[in-house]
C-alpha cells in the first residue's frame, strides 16, 4: 500500500477537506503537478482549475480559483480563494465564474493595461474547467 500524506483544502470561508490521501493533482499556474508522499517542499500559485485527490478514502475533485498550494513536510495545504466541491458545481456557478473572468478580460482590454494576457489566460482557464467537468454553459 502506498504511503499517504495529509491533505488540507481551505478557503477563507471554511475548511473543505482534511484527510489522508495518496496523491493530489494540483492545477499550478505553471502547469499541473501531481504530489505524492515525500514530495520536495514546494510552494506554487494556482490557476483556476480542477484539483484531483485520490486516496484510500476514495477520489474527490474540487474546482479551485486563485491562491496557492504549499507542499511541506507535514503534507499538502491548498489555500484557495474559492473552492467548490465537484458535486456542488453547476451550470449557474460556472457561468458566473466565466462572466466574471470575461468582465475582467474586457476591462483589461479597454484599459490596455499589462493585465490583458493574464486576464485572457484566466478566462481560458475558467472555460477549461467547464470542459473538464463536462458542464456546458450554453
Amino acid at each position: 500500500m502506498a504511503d499517504t500524506l495529509q491533505f488540507d483544502l481551505v478557503s477563507p470561508e471554511r475548511s473543505l477537506a482534511s484527510m489522508q490521501v495518496s496523491e493530489v493533482q494540483i492545477p499550478g499556474s505553471d502547469g499541473d503537478m501531481t504530489a505524492m508522499a515525500d514530495h520536495a517542499p514546494t510552494i506554487t500559485t494556482l490557476r483556476p482549475g480542477v484539483l484531483k485527490v485520490s486516496g484510500p478514502a476514495g477520489d474527490a475533485e474540487y474546482v479551485v480559483t486563485g491562491g496557492f498550494a504549499e507542499i511541506g513536510d507535514g503534507g499538502i495545504s491548498v489555500l484557495a480563494e474559492r473552492a467548490i466541491a465537484k458535486a456542488d458545481m453547476d451550470q449557474a456557478t460556472l457561468k458566473s465564474m466565466i462572466d466574471a473572468a470575461t468582465d475582467a478580460f474586457e476591462k483589461a482590454q479597454d484599459a490596455k493595461s499589462e493585465g490583458v494576457d493574464d486576464a485572457a489566460k484566466a478566462l481560458a482557464d475558467v472555460v477549461a474547467i467547464g470542459d473538464a467537468l463536462g458542464i456546458s454553459v450554453n
Binding site: D8, V10, S11, P12, E13, R14, S15, G28, S29, D30, M33, A40, P41, T42, I43, T44, T45, G66, G67, F68, E70, G72, D73, S77, L79, E81, R82
Partner: protein, 291 residues
C-alpha cells in the same frame, strides 16, 4: 387617581421595552454564535496564509525588487484609514470605541503634518466621525444589505483599496476594527495592511526550504493583494462577532435595568395604591365620627 393610572401605564411600557431588549439579546446571541463560527472557520486559512507570507516576505523583503505592497511606496505622507463599524446601533460602546481609536490615530497623524484619508465601512462610524473628519472622507462601503459576510465582500473592499494604492493616492493603510476577545471584551484594534506587516513566528517555519513555482517574487506579487483581502476579511469577521457580542451584553444590561425599573415602579405603585386606600378609610371614618 390619575397618578395610579400613569404608574400602571409606565410599568406596562417598561415591561414592553424589556421584552424587546430581551428578544434583541437572544437574537444577538444566536447571531454571535454564527459569527464566531464563521471567524473560526476562516482561521486556518488566515494562519496558514500568514505563515507562508511571512516566510516569503523574510526572504524577498530585503531586496530592492520587493513589491511595493510589501516595502511601501517609500513615503509616509498620506495615510488611509479604513474604519470598520456596524450598520446598526444599539450595541453598547462598540462603534464609539472604534471611532475613538481611529480619532486618536487621525489626530496624531494630523498633528504630525500628515495627510489623512478615510474610507468607512458601516454607516455608524461614518456618522459619528462626520463632524470632525467629514472633509477627509474618500469613500464608503455599505454592507447593510449583506446578510452573510462572504469573502467577496472583503475582495470588493480590497480591490477598492488596491486601486487607490496603485493610483498613489496614499502611502500607508491602516484598518480599524474591534477584535473579539469574549462577549464582554472587544478590543479596538489598528492594523497596518499596506505596507504589509507579517508577524514572523520564531524558529519553526524558517527551517523548511521550499521550491517556488513560479519564482518567489512572482508568487509574492500574486499573493500580496490577496493578503490585503484576507486581512480585511478576517477583520470583517472579527468585527461582526464583536458587534454581536457587544450588542448582546448591552441588551443584557438593558434587560436587567428594565427589570430593576419595573420593581421600583411596582413598589411605588403599591405604595400609592395603599395611600389612596388609607385616605379613603380616613375620609369614611372621619365622616362617621362627625355624625
Amino acid at each position: 387617581m390619575a397618578n395610579l393610572k400613569d404608574l400602571k401605564n409606565r410599568i406596562e411600557s417598561v415591561k414592553n421595552t424589556r421584552k424587546i431588549t430581551k428578544a434583541m439579546q437572544m437574537v444577538a446571541a444566536a447571531k454571535l454564535r454564527r459569527a464566531q463560527e464563521a471567524a473560526e472557520q476562516s482561521r486556518p486559512y488566515t494562519e496558514r496564509f500568514n505563515a507562508v507570507m511571512a516566510g516569503l516576505a523574510a526572504s524577498v523583503g530585503g531586496s530592492d525588487s520587493a513589491p511595493k505592497l510589501l516595502s511601501g511606496s517609500g513615503k509616509d505622507d498620506v495615510h488611509l484609514l479604513v474604519i470598520m463599524t456596524s450598520e446598526r446601533g444599539l450595541c453598547g460602546g462598540f462603534n464609539t470605541n472604534i471611532a475613538k481609536k481611529a480619532r486618536a490615530h487621525a489626530d496624531s497623524l494630523l498633528a504630525n503634518g500628515k495627510t489623512v484619508k478615510i474610507l468607512t465601512v458601516g454607516k455608524k462610524g461614518r456618522e459619528s466621525l462626520k463632524r470632525d473628519f467629514g472633509q477627509y472622507y474618500v469613500g464608503h462601503v455599505d454592507l447593510s444589505d449583506v446578510k452573510r459576510l462572504g469573502y467577496s465582500n472583503a475582495q470588493g473592499i480590497a480591490s477598492d483599496v488596491l486601486t487607490r494604492f496603485d493610483a498613489e493616492e496614499f502611502d500607508v493603510a491602516t484598518l480599524f476594527y474591534a477584535k473579539f476577545q469574549n462577549v464582554v471584551t472587544q478590543i479596538p484594534t489598528a492594523q497596518q495592511i499596506i505596507p504589509a506587516a507579517f508577524e514572523v513566528e520564531e524558529g519553526a517555519e524558517a527551517a523548511t526550504l521550499y521550491d517556488y513555482e513560479p519564482s518567489e517574487e512572482a508568487i509574492l506579487a500574486d499573493l500580496l493583494p490577496r493578503g490585503v483581502a484576507t486581512a480585511i476579511f478576517s477583520a470583517l469577521l472579527e468585527n461582526a462577532a464583536s458587534e454581536q457580542g457587544s450588542r448582546m451584553s448591552a441588551m443584557d444590561n438593558a434587560t436587567r435595568n428594565a427589570g430593576d425599573m419595573i420593581d421600583k415602579l411596582t413598589i411605588q405603585y403599591n405604595r400609592s395604591r395603599q395611600a389612596v386606600i388609607t385616605n379613603e378609610l380616613i375620609e369614611i371614618i372621619s365622616g362617621a365620627e362627625a355624625l
